[in-house]
């Protein structure tokens, strides 16, 4: 891997590039928020960012630590109540893309943020669904970004908090008035898309310096690769600079400086 950027930066830049200028994006906290704001500060100045705290069309100067940081409200076009956010803006069909992270994902893009183990006696209790279950079904499509590892990429999630394509890939078939679901998953190793027929995730692009074996090693099932696999373009100098400045500003801000 090239030494002038990290694999995390590669992931964020690739995720950012997935957003097109002018899209309305319902943004999850953490990696999605980082990517969405990078997009806004580089190639997509008119991307509309919406956070579930009710902040519409927000342009934070530093990345929020929480989904409801003051920065999000102060730089928003307007701030609505949380019921209105979920009813009028998300369920009302105004969101092009939901951008989500997750703790666990399976081969059919189902997301688990509820727990590891059994529901009544969890091994690890995770935070829960939050906005994700309805973002994933009410947004036009869904992008997912997370780090690649055998712990996060599992054959079957322990719990379907949020629908990808269900346990058999057919979970959206015939369901009216929902979005098309996950259309890409961006990790620190590669980009994956669901197979148009089976909905199983397929690697379509490898990041520079990443091998097939690296992805196989980090995935909890026998991951498939597209026939014509692409090389993910490297981050540009400008993208890296903007991202690093954003993260430095953010760190200073949250350290209370």
């Amino acid at each position: 891997m090239s030494s002038h950027y990290t694999s995390s930066e590669m992931m964020t830049v690739t995720a950012a590039r997935a957003l097109e200028n002018g899209m309305t994006c319902f943004v999850g906290i953490g990696l999605p928020s980082e990517a969405a704001n990078l997009a806004r500060l580089t190639h997509a100045p008119d991307v509309v960012l919406i956070y579930e705290s009710g902040t519409l069309q927000t342009k934070p100067d530093v990345l929020p630590l929480s989904i409801g940081d003051g920065e999000l409200c102060e730089t928003a076009l307007t701030t609505v109540s949380v019921p209105e956010m979920f009813r009028y803006w998300l369920q009302g069909g105004k969101v092009d893309v939901g951008f989500l992270g997750t703790a666990q994902i399976d081969r059919y893009c189902n997301l688990n943020t509820t727990l590891i183990g059994d529901y009544t006696a969890p091994k690890v209790r995770l935070p829960g669904g939050g906005g994700a279950p309805e973002i994933a079904t009410n947004a036009g499509e869904v992008f997912i970004t997370l780090k690649h590892s055998k712990r996060t990429f599992v054959r079957d999630v322990d719990f379907v908090t949020t629908l990808g394509f269900g346990r058999d890939g057919k979970g959206r078939d015939g369901v009216p008035n929902i979005g098309k679901g996950p259309t890409r998953v961006i990790t620190d190793l590669c980009v994956m898309k669901p197979d148009p027929e089976t909905r199983e995730l397929v690697v379509v692009s490898l990041h520079p310096g990443v091998s097939h074996a690296d992805v196989i090693e980090a995935t909890g099932w026998e991951i498939r690769f597209a026939e014509a696999i692409e090389a993910t373009p490297e981050p540009s100098a400008n993208e890296l600079q903007v991202l690093r400045e954003l993260k430095a500003r953010t760190d200073r801000h949250h350290a209370g400086e």
């Binding site: 953490g30 409200c73 019921p83 979920f86 279950p133």
Partner: protein, 272 residues
């Protein structure tokens, strides 16, 4: 008409052992001072409702006030777990905690329906999710016009709604500004309500469509300066993100938590 009381008296009057309590504030305006007063008064067996339990319910759960938690996202935002919540769920410490789990959209709609005096909320929710398998309050109904299958949940109608707001006027009318979350709904849906405020002023200075809750829709107002700290009050003070990060270490350890609680809540005269 709201009575203007001390925070002690407001909590003593309206929060009973065994009550169902919704303390709202979506990241912003979290009513920490009121939560600490509930801990100090040793309330027990509460059913706590909150979309994001946050540090405030981590503290109430760790202090042994809660019997049940109804929630939709139980983490420390941007930091990680709520360790007191996890300790209660995973290990039953300080005692067993029953949980009832929703999504944000559902809880927001259930508050809205509660404020609207309806027994149920209807939404396009939980499609393909396992949550309905572990939450028997989630049902599905068929739209009589289109046949579409929609989720239905009981509305939220707590015994007490507690929120923090920027200010009240002398008639007890309250202005909430910035991220308003489900705060108005939590007050209107509840049988009784307590609103803590940064200050009481002569004139709210509200624009025509600002989020103002009339005094006659509120049970009690109590002044609690910095009452949302370490969360924040738009126009007054910022979120103490550093404290949110420090909380991880405090809450991870039972003894560290107990020491923090002793020093900052139990031995503190009023708000931290």
């Amino acid at each position: 008409m709201a009575d203007i009381l001390s925070l002690h008296d407001a909590v003593a009057r309206y929060v009973d052992n065994g009550a169902t309590v919704a303390m709202e504030g979506f990241t912003h305006l979290i009513p920490f001072a009121a939560g600490h007063e509930i801990i100090r008064q040793g309330k027990r067996d509460l059913t706590l409702i909150r979309m994001t339990p946050d540090l405030i319910y981590d503290q109430l759960i760790g202090a042994g006030c809660a019997k049940k938690l109804i929630f939709s996202w139980g983490g420390n935002p941007g930091v990680g777990s709520l360790h007191r919540l996890r300790d209660a769920v995973e290990k039953g410490y300080p005692h067993k905690l029953e949980i009832l789990e929703h999504s944000h959209a559902t809880m927001a709609c259930a508050y809205e329906a509660g404020a609207a005096g309806l027994p149920l909320a209807v939404l396009r929710g939980y499609v393909g999710s396992d949550l309905p398998k572990v939450n028997d309050q989630i049902k599905f109904i068929e739209c009589p016009f289109t046949g579409e299958r929609l989720a239905a949940v009981p509305s939220i109608r707590p015994d007490v709604g507690v929120i923090h707001a920027q200010r009240a006027d002398r008639q007890g009318n309250v202005l909430v500004e910035g991220i308003i979350g489900v705060q108005k709904e939590a007050v209107l849906a509840a049988k009784s309500s307590i609103v803590t405020v940064e200050e009481i002023v002569d004139d709210l200075g509200a624009t025509p469509n600002a989020c103002v809750i009339p005094g006659w829709a509120i049970s009690a107002i109590a002044v609690a300066e910095k009452g949302a700290y370490p969360s924040y009050a738009y126009g007054y003070y910022p979120r103490d993100n550093r404290f949110y990060k420090e909380w991880d270490a405090i809450a991870r350890d039972r003894d560290a938590f107990q020491a923090w609680l002793e020093e900052n809540v139990l031995q503190a005269g009023g708000e931290v």
